[in-house]
């Protein structure tokens, strides 16, 4: 694929240019920073994430930049290692829910009828629950663990993809080039893979980018409630949860909270930039289903 990445309308964009705005660069830099942290966490951390070698509840100092927590662990080290938990899991989660959701959505949209009804009713059902309440019930039922939290989030996070993909497929299916392709003898599978999916991939991927943030927030929210990461895993949400116990030791929650925010923010900005380069209409379809 060369420079051009055409979309449904006359617009075009070249990737380098779209990503050249200061905000986009900042976002990419933040993500790059955390990727480096993920790789180098053991090297960068002054202490092990589980080591309880220090005095408890020390405020930030030269020795412990972000202080120590309630059992005497170095918060900085835990935050750095926390990136290895939250970010990769969120990325995998999003990819998985994108795959599940868009396959279901594409099937529902393209083949319609009973499949469509069944898939979309189920999606409605999931939609009817506020995500975190459903995730909470699931996580509580299965017992808290990162794995179960991931399952819970997967269960609640595929419907937006299904909806968006379905509506994109529905409208793409009507477009003249898809019809023209059918007239030229494309079977349903060829039509879907050759004409429909390539043209809706961009918005779905943008949705996924925007969803990374949501996934991190959900995951950390569940961990915060004690329904996600299992201690002593250095998960950011769980660390904020630890911090709740000691208002006076504000630093326990400060760094992990900020970390969540920067990562989520970076992915959201990146998603925005990608979305803005798309046709505004497509962008609406994208955002319309994010929640």
């Amino acid at each position: 694929m060369t420079a051009a990445m055409p979309v449904l309308r006359r617009r075009r964009f070249t990737t380098p240019r779209a990503l050249r705005t200061p905000l986009a660069i900042a976002a990419i830099a933040v993500i790059a920073f955390w990727l480096v942290v993920i790789v180098l966490a053991p090297v960068l951390s002054p202490a092990g994430p589980l080591s309880q070698a220090f005095d408890r509840l020390q405020p930030p100092s030269a020795e412990h930049w972000f202080g120590t927590d309630q059992v005497g662990r170095d918060v900085l080290s835990r935050v750095l290692h926390g990136a290895r938990v939250s970010v990769p899991i969120a990325l995998m989660l999003v990819v998985a829910s994108m795959l599940i959701g868009s396959v279901l959505g594409a099937v529902a949209g393209y083949f319609g009828r009973v499949l469509d009804e069944v898939i979309m009713r189920v999606a409605d059902l999931v939609f009817a629950f506020p995500t975190i309440i459903l995730a909470m019930v699931i996580a509580a039922s299965l017992g808290p663990s990162l794995g179960n939290a991931v399952i819970a989030i997967l269960v609640v996070s595929w419907p937006p993809y299904a909806r968006v993909t379905r509506s994109l497929v529905l409208s793409a299916r009507q477009t003249e080039y898809v019809v023209a392709g059918r007239l030229l003898g494309n079977g349903p599978f060829t039509s879907l893979t050759k004409d429909v999916l390539p043209n809706i991939a961009a918005p779905v991927v943008v949705l996924a980018t925007l969803d990374v943030g949501t996934a991190i927030l959900l995951l950390s929210g569940l961990s915060f409630l004690g329904l996600g990461a299992v201690p002593p895993t250095p998960e950011w949400g769980a660390m904020v949860g630890d911090g709740v116990q000691q208002f006076a030791s504000w630093w326990i929650a400060a760094a992990p909270g900020l970390s969540i925010m920067t990562v989520v923010l970076a992915f959201n900005v990146l998603g925005d930039v990608l979305r803005d380069t798309l046709d505004p209409r497509t962008a609406d379809a994208v955002k319309g289903g994010t929640l």
């Binding site: 589980l50 017992g143 004690g226 299992v230 002593p232 630890d242 000691q246 006076a248």
Partner: protein, 529 residues
Amino acid sequence: MHTSISRVAAVAAMTAAGALVLAGCAATAPNTPNGAEQGGGGNGTLVVDASFDLATADPNREYETTGSIVAKALYETLLTFEGDDVTEPVAGLADFEMSEDDRVLTLTMESGHTFSDGSEVTVDDAVFSLQRVQGIAGNPSFLLEGVTVEKTSDTTLTLTSETPNPALPFILPNPALSVVNQEVVEENGGSADASDAAEDFLNGTSAGSGPYILDSYDANAEVVFTANPEYSGDAPAYERVVLRNVPGETQQLNVQAGESQIALDLNPDQAAGLDEDAVTLISGASRYVIFLFLNQSEGVSPVTSNPDFLRAVKLGIDYDSIVDLAGEGSVRPGGFIPSLFNGALTADQGNQQDVEAAKEALAASGYAGEEVQLNFPNDITVQGLSLQSVAESVQAQLAEIGVNVSLAPAPVATELDAYRNGTEQIGLWYWGPDFPDPSNYLAFTPGELVGLRAGWTADADPAVKSLADAARAATGDERAAAYEELQVAQNESGPFIPLLQPAQNVATAKSVTSVALNPVWTIDLGATK
């Protein structure tokens, strides 16, 4: 002055919260957070923050910490304790006399106690109430298991036990055994058998003779009490008490900010963070014992049931650092009986850390690094202390001697099942006494309630078993020694590893001059001044 600051703030808030709320903040400014300060003296309102585990306001059904506070405020019991001394029961609605063989307890009603509807508390009410506890088979009904309640005259009743029951006078002060107004309760569907349907009514209206009457009740949010004009004792210092459900960390802020006058569930770190100029802190060891157990059932875990492994764990734990973790006021018990009760061991009589010995024991056990699971409930705190910190410490300490522990927390509701069915490999739990008598801790012996949860069957440890039987049978002054001996033996070979008694930290506003704390009902709101 506060007014003007608040007005400025309101303007600032506008940027954060939007123009719409502006009107509200500005209007509220004069009576926001400081209003509560006036509640301190005289006939004002007392605001008490607690972490709720409230299930019901029906005294004969409640068996939770918060429920006891509520029942204690609304009702009276036949016997009671004086202040926080739980070593000696005293007369409440009745005076008592125990037969020589510890089997028949005779209670004589004291006159002059009246229910909130003005009627007198009679022996019939007392008999009805105790029979109701038994008949409705609620949480507390085991307290009177094997006990027959009979009215013997217009002023007396007897409680006859099948077996000698020296603990009975210590059981009777439990607020679950409160006396309710028979007439009122029966009018509202109440009875002393399973057909009882008065709970709904009692959740809305109290029918007792306690210092307060129930004003409103929301098991999830708050309970409001108002003074009972018919109360026969000293009138309570506060006309109105609001008992609110607030998490510990917020309690700390509230009591300092003057939003509440009493905070009941502060953990040591929160307590340490208090501004002593603004609040008074009362701390002491609580009645709870947090303990670890290793399952002795080979089916559950061949690792934890290995005696050498068990010994290694006992030797590997850094008991002092765990008590440090729990902060000021917490105590390290020598055995499973908490320091407040007869028969308790001191810390130096308990197990001690010895890393080298632990490693040897571990080597002897043939342990090869298998992962063992440590289960604990993660959504509850014991006196504000979360079990998670303790679990994390234990995990790290055992890692030092080479034991690979994985933590498996769960909400208490989920985890209880595994705990009570005895399927946990390593469990981290706590025990709150049902009544302040060491006999309550016989549950921790082979074949008994808690023992079985650790896979400690009746025939698993005959030595300890016989010591337990001896303790049960002991009377008078022999009892303490018998229980001490039992605990020493348990520490040696039993699956239970008592870790700590967390501190109970209660913070009060300076306006509160006296707080009536007690290990059985936590706080007597009626006697708080």
